[in-house]
């Protein structure tokens, strides 16, 4: 089955909000065996929404619409869908009860604006939203109204969801995906991620071409370069009755050719791989971050269960903090500067001892866009990893002046060094 996603919101077109809803929905639908054929973003504009809905209904088995259901004036989806389906707005008892319940829990009084959230087109089915006041609406379009539905399927479906990310996500998980799976016959999709580091996308592509060419037709390969790392994604699409126990991805050939660049499998990010590796091996970690400014710590602690291995860290932005909180020697900073191999090593060793961790990682560098010198231009970064017996340091020289890119690449390189150290020695 083929799904079109329509995300509504001027803020998305204006670029003031990143459209994470599209990727969240794409990921959830893919995991549930449904194929997203296209995503469309339109503004809070009746004509544009109407056209997008109409065109999508003619090209897809299901159309999922987010946004435009809030209580404020710039939200217009509900009235438009009511007109599109030649229906009328009625107060839904289910939706009103839900709004009342949520306001009672929060201890707020119900306003007229809030109550209006319970108005829905008469022709839709309300899917109850346990985590918010905006209703989720399921419209079943009779075959014949939509010309291009998949053969043998009884309906085209349009679902309208709120644009608030966590409400959308809850509804997708608990209401929309189960109901779509009941309604349609879905394919089985299997993904496999391989994380590589230390080789550029085009070199990797040249290297593994013989293996890539040998892949069967139902397996697709994609290259996803992110901040100095290239993720290979293999996707297999199998019919719904495929015997899963007989399926495997042919990875032997890949490891034979490019094994030295592979740092891990089955993770989306290096932070996830570090999280998994440290948890499995029962090792603790401390961080000392200068140029990455807390990003390493925040990427690790964003994952539930980080407290099992993460002791804590120091964001040592100023030289005083490098001295007082990490024990970097004043003479080291004087002689070699804050961005140096010696400082990086002392940061890693200092934070490991002071915070009582098995392993520590430290970063110090010039992220940019300014602050470079002739000897140490923007993009100069030192990373050090230390355990009880050994400290290792690495110099990175990024060509660009883009601050966030230099930070993100440093973080990934630090994670990669950490994984190497752990896998070699622990």
């Amino acid at each position: 089955m083929n799904v079109t996603i329509i995300n509504i919101g001027d803020e998305l077109l204006l670029g003031q909000v990143v459209n994470t809803n599209a990727s969240t929905m794409g990921r959830m639908l893919t995991e549930a065996g449904m194929a997203v054929g296209r995503t469309i973003v339109v503004g809070d504009n009746r004509k544009a929404i109407w056209q997008a809905v109409d065109s999508a209904l003619h090209k897809s088995d299901a159309v999922l619409v987010t946004g435009g259901l809030g209580p404020t004036k710039d939200d217009i989806t509900k009235r438009l869908l009511c007109d599109y389906f030649h229906s009328e707005l009625v107060e839904s008892e289910t939706a009103l009860e839900n709004v009342r319940r949520i306001f009672a829990v929060r201890g707020f009084e119900l306003t007229a604006v809030n109550r209006a959230q319970a108005l829905v087109p008469k022709c839709c089915e309300v899917l109850n939203n346990d985590v918010g006041t905006a209703p989720c609406m399921w419209f079943q379009v009779e075959k014949g109204k939509s010309e291009a539905t998949q053969d043998g399927l009884p309906h085209t479906v349009l679902v309208s969801l709120p644009g608030v990310p966590h409400e959308m996500e809850w509804l997708m998980q608990n209401r929309v995906i189960p109901k779509l799976q009941e309604t349609f016959r879905t394919d089985i999709i299997i993904n496999k991620n391989i994380l590589t580091q230390g080789i550029g996308e085009s070199f990797l592509s040249d290297l593994i071409e013989p293996w890539e060419t040998s892949l069967p037709e139902d397996i697709k390969l994609a290259y996803l370069p992110v901040a100095g790392m290239t993720k290979l994604r293999l996707t297999a699409r199998l019919p719904h009755d495929y015997p899963l126990s007989t399926f495997h991805f042919p990875l032997e050939g890949l490891y034979k050719i490019a094994g030295q660049y592979i740092v891990g499998e089955d993770c989306e990010t290096l932070a996830e791989l570090v999280h998994k590796t440290l948890t499995e091996r029962g090792l603790t970690l401390a961080t000392a971050e200068s140029c990455t400014g807390g990003t390493i710590a925040s990427q690790l602690t964003a994952q539930a269960g980080a407290s099992v291995y993460f002791k804590g860290g120091v964001v040592a932005y100023s030289n005083e903090v490098k001295e007082c909180a990490l024990g970097v020697q004043h003479s080291t900073l004087e002689a070699h500067g804050a961005v140096s191999e010696e400082t990086a090593r002392e940061m890693a060793e200092g934070v490991r001892k002071r915070l009582g961790a098995d392993i520590a990682i430290a970063t110090t560098g010039i992220a940019g866009p300014d602050g470079g010198t002739r000897e140490k231009p923007v993009g100069t970064v030192w990373i050090a990893v230390a355990d009880a017996t050994h400290t290792e340091a690495q110099l990175l020289s990024f060509p660009g002046r883009r601050r966030q890119q230099n930070i993100d690449r440093t973080v990934n390189q630090a994670f990669s060094m950490l994984i190497h150290l752990i896998c070699q020695k622990h």
Copy 2:
């Protein structure tokens, strides 16, 4: 003029990569006075790309396409555009020279795959890409081929850009936007952000309705709720010859009704507002983060110039670190626990003194999804801010168990408390 953005990539539809290109392009085009009417995402699929390009060319003055230009096999845009415009692939001397230059800088040898990047459709103009090997291609479509261009404009334009975010951004800034502005007559767009905190979207909407209703027609208002904060965005679209010195947003009425909830103007985020406020007032900051795990520090240090005011921080994830790195008393942790007003206060005071900052902020809480108790359920968070004479603490009780949401809301509430403290006392 009306722009359609088409982003190509299976990884976007599968939700493995968030489509930041769309928001970056939307923001840049908006700031340059161009209106994005719609964004379309399609996979690495010839038929889907063809349909999207064809439909967009008929509905827009300019179509900007990203993705599918890399050296790897899943990239197909270039051949498709060549066929669509009935052209042939030729080796572009400009593009080849550029590929050669970049490989020389990096000290790599040119492979056949890389050299193929210099092949472009004969009918396009190559816009030189100083920061990458993929060419940017400008196609001018004669009027008549496209039915619905804006009256009086000579052309419809299609531009194909690489999907790598920093290459796309550099090309937009330095090549594409200047050339679009030469080619089309663009409107003037003015945005104004008002950051509010401490009031939900629907209550705010009720409160300011009289003011909202009084806004002139050429000014649009949008509500952008993010992690416990609501950003109001006013957008004015003015004709290209409007006398800008006479324009102002009518904000007096808004301040009269809702002034107490407004924390700042002209910033996208509270982190940006904190950055601005601390820089302007010459105050220094230190952070002590438990449940936010370094996110406060990383959001501040993501901004160039943070070293002016940010001394550093401690990510005090374990109790030992709260004691050894921040000086929280063992007896405090024993008597009140890590998530308590007393611990939050001692964390803020401790980090302020140890790192020698004017002001400090501390967070400690249970972000979830697990780890709560009956007395302290998931979502219980204490925040404290301290200066030399005064410490203030606040209890937050978030209803949800979603880890990232609880972290993000804590960060925003911490920034808001910080701004209040600074504005009241410094």
